[in-house]
Amino acid sequence: MVKARYRKTNLDRYFSRAFSIFWGGGIATLSAVLSVAFAVFVWITVSYLLIFTQNFAGAVYGNIGIVAFFNDSITDAGVSDVIADVKKIPGVNSVKYVPPEDALKNLEKSLADYSALIESLPYNPIPPSIEVYVENPEDLEKVAAALEKMGVFDDILVPTDFANKIMRIVSVSRTVVMSVMVLFLFITFVMIFLTISSAILSHHEEIVLYRLLGGSYVFIYFPFVLLGLLYGIAGAIIGTLGAAFAIRALTPGIQALGKAIIGIDHIAVGNMIPVYMVSIVVGLILALIAAMFAIRRFLVEMEVKGL
């Protein structure tokens, strides 16, 4: 009798079966791919908004400074020493000396309607001061306390309320973004799970027969794992491209908004490539897990039926 020759691998058969179900899936395939694409699009877009909000907050923090007015005893040489000491305080990012003349000019600028009144002053009442910028707005109070201890300042203005508002905005944005991401992860998971379950269901007769005729679980189900990956890859690519275009279109408008709100000309968004990569990987992993769950459900059913 002629002896049969066996293949070394069935991988090409798994791929060809997965592709055939993918292309033949019609509306089911489209809905699975679009749901992954939509989820990836939302993840990237909200990630972008979060990054932008954080950068926006960072830019605002960079402009929030403690203003400390020197007392009368300070000398020009003393100012330099104090600035050097202030720079050593933990959490201080930079220190800017504001001479009384500059402070007066700034006051004139900000109170333009009262310029005549300011000009009529017989002398400059504003003492020399420094603006201390911190690395983290949470350090404002700590740095202000350290300045107070130095004993060379008459008055220290700490913009705590403003910083707290900004921190709250960032914190809320982060929570919203995380919730949206988790929600869309769940929606995508459910969509892929249902699509693969329905794909398995529509091939149920064939699967049962394959099992009856000696097919292994790997042979029967691996194409469906690949199918999940195909949904994931196709959806992630479409979603990422869509998000990349949307971000390109949105960025100038958002930067203009940032400028209008805080007057900072250019708020960097940063490199989005890692976000795109992570989103694609997350899309793929999610599709894979959903596929495994869908398959597991049928494996249990097959086992119960003695197949």
Partner: protein, 237 residues
Amino acid sequence: MEVASDVILSLRDITVHLGYSKRRVLANISFDVCQGERVYILGPTGAGKTTLLYTIYGMWKPTSGSVWFNNMEITSHSRPPLEKWRRDIGFAFQDYKLLMDRTVIENVTIPLVLRGFTREDVLSFAYKALEVVGMKNRDKDFPSMLSGGEQQLVSLARAIAFRPKLLLADEPTAGLDNVTSEKVLKALEHIRDEYNITMLIATHNVDIAARRATRIIRIEGGKLRVDAYGKGKIPQD
């Protein structure tokens, strides 16, 4: 367990309970089958013939007892390696179980693909099987274009295409007229001549069993009543 060297299948005290009510369908069935035997399992409807074949095929797990085939035993496994077990067993189902959206040749190639045959061997083995059962000229037809007997022949071709050591056929002539039944039985003979496959054929038709069997096992009420050798003899209780 020790079995004779030419014993290919061995059943020891097989008892099967099925359904929620745990109805006993088979009770203490024991027999050995040697290489090349053509065993007809005889018995009225509901005697337990199909259950016996399904148990041998690994579809039903016996409540007690053991089934040995190819030096393997699966009944003790909680998750039996069924694909390994079925690798050398062909099964011709009573209801044929053909995929209606596949052509005859595509149906016959399924077990070959599942066993990882090369592309060339898949086709050559499938066509050879169709030739043995006399259905080679219908390779491109869909099952819906075939009569019941022809579908049974395709089902047989699929069961033997990968040259199994054991063929289980469940009522291969059920629902067929005499002429078509004869065709199917001739195909079974041709299969045995061509491949020397050991066969276990379940039937309720005493005449068929008497004319074709080398051994007849009669089951009634789930119990083995008769186990007799010799062609042309209808065993009595």
